[in-house]
Symmetry: C2
Subunit: 362 residues, 2 copies
């Protein structure tokens, strides 16, 4: 496969021209990874249409050479990345107006620009790299698909082992070991294993609560393949499902399937959100679906675009988004079903292959 | 045990007076957790000597009530946390000069203060809450000790299962499952399982590399107990250790033990770092120890203080710090040994109970 990075840097160069800056200081690590391949946890990148300089520290000396190669000038800075930045900018000489990432620069570091970096003109920019990242190329799509395969195979292994009497933490352990055994490089976010009434907490973490007969068991987790994420949720019943559980489950299932088959590139994030929300409202559960329908994913588990009531923008062709409606009844329990969906030119492609039907475990 | 939060809020109020601000906008989630107990991933806190207001979103409605109780006025904001903030500040009426956390506020949000929040005077502050967090109370020390117990019991389970031919990812899976089975609420940072030449990468992640006879195997990982972290590293040899491996291992072991027994509250971070660094230099490996000796830990796995060549400040009594010297020979391998140490009034207390002697696994 062609190295995608030169085309990304070239597209960024066009963005710099449009933003009227001579170069961009990139402080977002996922943006740095997208542009250069560097996956370490400490770096600053400075990019202009003709120079790309990556500054990192000793810990990444070997890794940065392997990952970045000749794409950028690599600087291993012994003191502070910022000291390295001033030196590099001075050596380059020509940049005068320099953009920075307003959404990824702390006020403390903004002060550095105004003080130690006072000889350059600094201009805030928003989403210059994020906009490029929104449209996935074939290689990226393949990695997100692979990360979905890892997640769903791990889920299949896990549910075979779930029993009444296990704690949420034990289930998390089985799930995470299955993810590792299937090759996940990491956990894009803290796995949620929420049982019984705790499944009504949309952002629960795993606890030592013991699973009882008749509990909902909600698993929300992801895998990572070459830096790209998957994000999957399924809700089960451990033991036998009650009629009310089946009813609410079915509303969420239909909301998921209707939205995943109805979402389109070019549609606004608000209209996509409304597909699921309107259905849940019609069924009388609108007040119990308090979060938004979904979000983009890629190198980050939350990235552009948003599928939400407040999202005006059109969904880009080539984006990968989650579709994750839920219904949460406090004190009783909740259901969420989440798949990852590619917004292709010919319509949505569901990347998560795992049944939607309610399964009774144990 | 007494609820520690009122005393923390009271200490913060003293800090606000000293900083000449009427109140503080707290945007750091660990700082919010420290002050209020709220552990969710979306919140803004506004604190004055007489009012404490916590703004979060729908997803945390149940959780925030349980965790925070009557300590703060809780606001569930349907649109944006910032909209909620302006409303609350307006209702309070009296604050005029408001501090914000310069190290935890993005430039984008700083712009909000200057625009939507233009009717208040904003003043950057640094480390007002972090300084309080540096000195652990007995409850916090107990939790960090517990998180160390979880980590070391999980490590003992793991090394029994390590065999030649396993991949790093498989070992990570065994380690993380053991951490969950021992009760860890999460993983404070991505576990490092690095074998053979990859052990020379101080910040390696786990890969599908297969472990060979004679490889170093470096495990750097942590556990989490009620939000408090441990951070532990041990390096093993799988199969039989070669003389050069033993020699380098022993230098790191002595550096660790000398520093852990020599570090004291009141000493500068630089002097603490020098205990290990000077010894490693004397033994001729100074160029291969490129990172700093350690860092504070608590609600975050990296917090104040730093033990580094560039750290002038005195280590606070009551801090918990890592002691983690290492020697890394690129292309060959590396060794790091890391314990967590409490800086008590009577000297250092090592919180990590796991042997330092070189162990041959498999």
């Amino acid at each position: 496969m062609t190295d995608p990075r030169p085309a990304r840097l070239s597209a960024l160069a066009d963005g710099l021209t449009a933003a009227h800056v001579d170069g961009l200081l990139v402080s977002s690590l996922p943006n740095i990874r997208y542009l250069t391949g560097f996956s370490g946890s400490s770096a600053l990148l400075f990019a202009t249409p003709r120079d790309v300089v990556l500054i990192t520290d000793f810990r990444y000396q070997t890794q940065v050479a392997e990952e970045v190669g000749q794409l950028a000038r690599i600087v291993i800075e012994p003191q502070s990345l910022w000291t390295g930045l001033w030196q590099q900018l001075s050596q380059l000489g020509y940049p005068q107006v320099v953009g920075f990432e307003s959404s990824h620069l702390l006020h403390r570091d903004f002060q550095r620009l105004l003080e130690a970096g006072a000889r350059w003109q600094w201009r805030p920019t928003v989403d210059l790299v994020e906009t490029l990242r929104e449209r996935k190329d074939a290689g990226e799509l393949g990695l997100i698909r692979a990360a979905n395969g890892v997640a769903t195979r791990a889920l299949a292994r896990t549910i075979e082992q779930v029993r009444i009497g296990m704690s949420e933490l034990e289930v998390a352990g089985v799930l995470e070991k299955s993810l590792r055994d299937e090759g996940s490089e990491g956990f894009p976010f803290p796995s949620i294993v929420a049982s019984g009434p705790r499944s009504a907490l949309p952002h629960a973490r795993s606890t030592n609560r013991v699973i009882e007969a008749g509990d909902f068991l909600l698993l929300d987790f992801g895998a990572e393949t070459h830096g790209y994420c998957s994000d999957v949720t399924r809700t089960f019943v451990v033991g036998r499902a009650a009629p009310e559980q089946r009813e609410i489950y079915d509303v969420v299932r239909v909301a998921n399937e209707t939205a995943a088959s109805g979402v389109r590139a070019g549609m606004s994030g608000r209209d996509a959100d409304a597909i699921a929300r309107d259905y849940i409202q019609q069924r009388g559960y609108g007040d119990l679906f308090g979060h938004s329908l979904g979000h983009g994913l890629g190198l980050e588990v939350h990235e552009a675009p948003r599928l939400a009531r407040t999202a005006d923008g059109a969904l880009a062709e080539g984006a990968v988004v989650t579709i994750e409606p839920g219904i949460y009844r406090p004190g009783w329990g909740g259901v969420r079903i989440e798949d990852d969906v590619f917004l292709g030119a010919d319509g949505p492609v569901i990347l998560t292959s795992f049944p939607h039907e309610l399964m009774e475990l144990g």
